[in-house]
Each structure stands twice: as structure tokens, then as C-alpha cells.
Chain length 394, copies 2
């Protein structure tokens, strides 16, 4: 058989262990904060009937959606966001769900975007939403929970830009999309594009004098110094109807790391009545990138803590000590092949980034080696199992 | 706009919070055992070039694969298992990876199967594999790790059926597929089908007298009473070349919950040389089903521990106590709307399955209510914050 060239599709990524561990770390932190506020996990299928998804995200969304016919000839589409599937779930299960329904969802979505820095065709979204209440407390809780997530990840300075879609209600959709580019192309750019498309460029000035809503006033009060009223904030997606927001990290300029808002008319597209909802979504890749840039990942994300070298005549001893360490919740690998020379086993440990190496000795003792903060190798010889445990736990 | 009927595709599933929590519990347990043996996380894309996946799983696999043309006209396919993408990764990254490369992977796969009980079109696989060594220790470690996973999930009695593909090396592929049905259709059935397809039905008798390999002998020794040499075990997938195994749970008859084996020629299809490998895969849905049947899930999987009722004039107090509980790592929800009557707030708590309810009182005290083991409501009145903490932690 001919060799098949190993390659991945543009916009799709492998995550090798080092990167995968960072992702798992962020997911774990987000989940813990989501759950601390009473949001519960939901999963929906990757594939939906195409008609469930199309027409909800605007023309751009329909164009970027992965749509195809399955083996049974059905028109199907890959998940494009997690909000529309949530709306479908709420309509489908109705009375079975507690109302309000507070859920979090952490799954991949697929968009056939032009790939560029930080833009991928498969990427993870992390969402929280509260469906079934128009109470302002739901809006506040969503944004407070988002802020708490960012603090838990280690971000100290960020700002939450807020606006209300109602402030834009008299402005045509096409003009909103232009105004949404304000950050990218500046005020002059927006005015120019508005004129070119036949809009009165004074729209922008009129928006600027629109007023804060009670929700925004409350937010400003609750999250002192973090919330900014930004009357030109528009957000791209079609379905928002009330409060909208975006979160920017100081010192990270690639774009907002989270955003969301109130959408009181989306669930009704699948149900016999309107059901109000509000939610937020984290841009997972940007979070990771911002954390890398600001150096917020802990240094000890390595999952394997110890490698025990496998030396002739010490195989059984290596397995025994490994099991004892595992019983003490210390992730321990035994090198698999005692025919491989010691130096190569050390190289393996180094390449894998395993912090501690154990060399079995005679008489139930071991040599423990590790690199100190300056990158120098330190070791303790003739250590007993209990000393070993103490060292590894310190 | 017309209402869109909310529905999901056949073979695809929503996981509402109760089910999603069980899944998260099993994943967490498996991850912790995988990591304790030095397996590290890997993620690969959902979509691959179709040519990467086709021709690796036999004709049946090619037929069941979700293949389509993407927006750029490329032939793409959804992940069908996690072994072929792993082989692609090893060939693609080569020297960048530590060798042997020990990874775990927990992602969805898609197969357009006829749906029936326990058969889905989107399902989760949980795999461990060791690539880059033919050492028998790798085979043993994989199977020992699988056994450890099952014990950690609470399974007490299970058996590991083992065989070696080399015992079947003189038997045509088509006959192996028939022999693989032994459990389903019985010995007479297999012999009949062999004859019908023109094979000598004595093949089956000949297989039965084949011998154990050294790896199987060692396994029998290491996992006393759990490992059974089963010379007729065949396993469906094309790529196995050596030791193969399947795990069955006593008292759960729907089929094996895990399986795997050695495949020394798959990675070579993408690389310039042969790279030996061995691995195992858990059937996640069957694990969940077996755990349900054997009652192995803990009773307290609920993520939200406390609901604080939201009563007029006590809103601020509710939020304050919630924050203090969260600081103490107790997941706490505040009911969002103080206009909703108390009884309905209780109903919400019940429907969501939240174990504790707190009603704020005057004078910095609270009433704590919960259901005891007999389903009766118990409560303590005029409790202080510190008493509250004690109660919730006990």
C-alpha cells in the first residue's frame, strides 16, 4: 500500500499533551465557577437537522455553516454555536426542565471561516445561559459569573463593555453591522462606510447620546470600575433583543474574550410561546492566548509527576514502588523497556517534561532526581519510600 | 416566521444535566487512572481528509463513515475512531513526540450505524495507546490500566478475554468475521455459516487448540482469576496484528465494555517505517449502562448543593450568604426572582434535585431544610452561618 501523507485540514488542530493540558485546566476552572452559581451541564449533538440551525445567525452564518446530506439523504449541519441548540432543547423538553433553566455547555462548534491568526474552523465554546426569566437578576448573574471566571483564571484587569440592543432598534441591520466595526476601522471609517451604503452618517452621533438602562446602571454599581457603557457596541449576531456586552482584557488586544446578551425571541422560534433568555459565551482560544501572553498558567500542569527508570534486575521493584505512589495519588510512569540504556530513559523523562525521576537501588532505597528552579539537576540518594513521599509532596 | 419543530436526528442525543453529570463522573475517573500510569491527553480534529480515514476499518467502516465535501470542495470525513487519527499524529509529528508516546484521548466518534438499543451514531470513545515499542510490558500495562479503571468505577467482577491475532493468521478475513459472531449465533451457527460461505467448518476446532502466547501467560499470572484465554476471540477491526482482548462485566450481558490489542502496521501506513503500537478503547455508553444496572453511581452527583430562596426584603442577604458559601467551595444558587411565591421556589429546588434549601430569616440567621434518607423533610431553624457550614459539610 502506498504511504498516505499525514496532514490536517486548514483551520483544524491537533492538541498535543502540553496544549491539551492547558485546555483541560481552563475548562476545569470555568466549570467550577459555572457550577458554583448553579449552572448545570448540558450536551447537545454535533449534528442537527439543517433547518434547526439555518436562518438564526444571519446570511454570514448560513454561508459559513458546515451543511451536507447524510447517508440517509437528510440535510444536516454541524453545530454553529450552542445557543440555537439550547433554544431547541428548551422547546423540545418543555415541562421536563426546571424553569428557569440554567445550563452550561462546553463543546466544539464548526464554522468555515477564512483562516487567519486566531480564527479556526473547529473551536471550543464555553457558554452559560439562563432561559425562562426576564428578571434583571438573571442578566446581572450572567455577567457577574463571567467576571468571576476571569478572576479565577488570574485576570486582574478587564473591562465589560455594555449596551442595550433597544438603543439600536431604529437602525437598519446593515448599518448595525457597519457600526459593529468601530474598533476595527475607527470612527471615520464607519462614517465613510455608512455614507457609501446610503445611510446618514449622523446615525453614529445619535447613538452616542442614547441612555443607560436600569440593568446597566445596576451592573456599573455591582462591578465597580469594570463596567463601561458603550452606546456604539452592537454585537454581530441577529438574535439579541436587550442587554448586550463584551469583555476585553487589558494588555490583550486581539479582541474580546467573552460576550453575550439577552435574546428573548429565539426560543419562541421552536416553541408555541416566547421564552426570554440571557447568556454569555467565552472565546476559548482567545482566553488561552491571553493567558499565555500574561503568563497566567501554573508551571506544574504536567500530569505525570514521576518516571521510574526500568533497569535490569529492578523491574519488579519499579512496578511495586509505582503502585505504592499511585495509591498515594502521585501519577507515576515506569519506563517500559529495561533493555534501553539509562541515559535514553533520562532523555525520555526530559522530553516528556516529567519533573521527578526515580532510580531504584539495592536495599529498598532509591535515588530521586529533579531539576531545580535554575535548571540544575539535584538529587538525593538512598532515600526510603516515606522520604520519597515527603519530597514529592513538598 | 413559522415555528420550527424541535427534534434531533436518529442516533444523536441530548444529555440533560442528570445524564451529563454521570458522563462527567466517568470521564473524570478514567482520566485520573489514565494519568496515574503516565498517559497524557491528546485531542485531534473532528474532521480529517477522507483519505486519512478510509481503507483502515474494512468495507463496513468505509460504508458507515460520515463523508462529505466541505465548502472548499475537499473530501472530508468525521472521526470514526481515535486510533487512526493517533497513527496520523505519530507520523506527522515524528521526532517532536517522546517515544514511546503514551496518550489518552476522550472524544466523540461518528458512525452511520443502524440505530438499535445501545447503538448510536455519535458516541464517546475513551482510549489509551502506547506507540513506539513492541515491548510486552506495553501490552501488559494497557490491560492492567483497563482493569484498574473498571475497579475504580466500582466493578468488582469482570473477565478479560484474550487471544493473539497470530493464532488466526492462516484464516481468511471473511472467515474471521464469521468466527467473531460466536457469542451471538453460537457454535452451530458459526459452523453453518462457515460451510455456507465455502469454508471448512473444522477451522473452528483447529483454532480451539491453538496455544497461549507469552504475553497471555504473563497476563494470566498478573491478573489472577480475571484473564481468560479465548482462542476464538477475533475482534472486528482490520488493523490488529498481535495480542487482542475484550472485557466483559459479570451481570451485564449487552456486550463487552472495553477492548483492544496490538497493531504494529497501522502507523506505518502514514510513516516511512513501521512503528509498533498497542491500545485499548472503552465503550462509554455501555460503561454507563452497566453502572446504572449495577447501581455504581454515587448518590450525590448533583452539582448544585444549595438553593437560597429569594424573598422580598432579603435579596441582598441571600446574595451575601451565597457568596460566602461559594468562598467555602459550596455550589450555591440564589433563586432569581423574589416576586415568585415561596412554594414555587421550593418546587424549583425539588425539580432540580438540589439537596439543601436555605430560607433567610431576620437577625442574621437562616432556616436550613433538606430531605432525609426516607424522603421526609427535616429542618433546622435559626441557624448561624458557621452552623450552616458545619451542616453542609457533614
Amino acid at each position: 500500500m502506498n504511504k498516505i501523507t499525514p496532514k490536517t485540514l486548514k483551520g483544524f488542530r491537533d492538541f498535543l499533551p502540553k496544549e491539551a493540558r492547558k485546555r483541560a485546566y481552563v475548562i476545569e476552572k470555568l466549570k467550577s465557577v459555572f457550577e458554583s452559581y448553579g449552572f448545570e451541564p448540558l450536551e447537545t449533538p454535533s449534528l442537527e437537522y439543517a433547518e434547526i440551525l439555518t436562518g438564526k445567525y444571519g446570511d454570514e452564518g448560513d454561508k459559513l455553516m458546515y451543511k451536507f446530506k447524510d447517508n440517509g439523504g437528510r440535510d444536516v449541519a454541524l453545530r454553529y454555536d450552542q445557543t440555537v441548540p439550547l433554544a431547541r432543547v428548551v422547546a423540545e423538553y418543555g415541562e421536563k426542565l426546571p424553569m428557569p433553566f440554567k445550563r452550561y455547555q462546553i463543546q466544539n462548534v464548526w464554522r468555515a471561516e477564512n483562516t487567519q491568526r486566531g480564527r479556526f474552523r473547529e473551536f471550543l465554546q464555553c457558554d452559560i445561559d439562563t432561559v425562562g426569566t426576564a428578571n434583571i437578576n438573571a442578566d446581572l448573574e450572567i455577567i457577574i459569573c463571567v467576571a468571576k471566571c476571569l478572576e479565577t483564571l488570574g485576570f486582574k484587569q478587564f473591562k465589560i463593555l455594555t449596551n442595550d440592543r433597544k438603543n439600536l432598534k431604529d437602525i437598519p441591520k446593515e448599518a448595525i453591522i457597519i457600526i459593529d466595526k468601530l474598533k476595527k476601522i475607527g470612527e471615520e471609517g464607519v462614517k465613510k462606510e455608512l455614507s457609501e451604503k446610503g445611510f446618514d452618517s449622523s446615525i453614529l452621533e445619535n447613538i452616542k447620546i442614547s441612555g443607560k438602562t436600569p440593568a446597566i446602571d445596576l451592573l456599573v454599581e455591582k462591578l465597580e470600575g469594570k463596567v463601561i457603557f458603550e452606546p456604539t457596541l452592537a454585537r454581530g449576531l441577529d438574535y439579541y433583543t436587550g442587554l448586550i456586552f463584551e469583555v476585553e482584557i487589558n494588555g490583550y488586544s486581539a479582541g474580546s474574550v467573552a460576550g453575550g446578551g439577552r435574546y428573548d425571541e429565539l426560543v419562541g422560534m421552536f416553541a408555541d410561546k416566547q421564552i426570554p433568555a440571557v447568556g454569555a459565551s467565552f472565546g476559548f482560544d482567545r482566553l488561552i492566548e491571553a493567558m499565555n501572553e500574561l503568563n497566567l498558567f501554573p508551571k506544574d500542569l504536567q500530569t505525570t509527576k514521576v518516571l521510574i527508570l526500568n533497569l535490569p534486575n529492578f523491574e519488579e521493584k519499579a512496578l511495586e514502588i509505582a503502585n505504592k505512589l499511585r495509591e498515594n495519588n502521585i501519577n507515576t510512569e515506569v519506563y517500559l523497556d529495561s533493555n534501553i540504556e539509562k541515559g535514553k530513559q533520562f532523555n525520555y523523562s526530559e522530553k516528556k517534561g516529567i519533573p521527578y525521576t526515580i532510580v531504584p537501588n539495592e536495599n529498598e532505597t532509591f535515588t530521586l532526581g529533579w531539576k531545580n528552579e535554575n535548571g540544575q539537576i539535584e538529587k538525593v540518594e538512598k532515600i526510603t519510600f516515606n522520604n520519597l513521599l515527603e519530597h514529592l509532596r513538598s
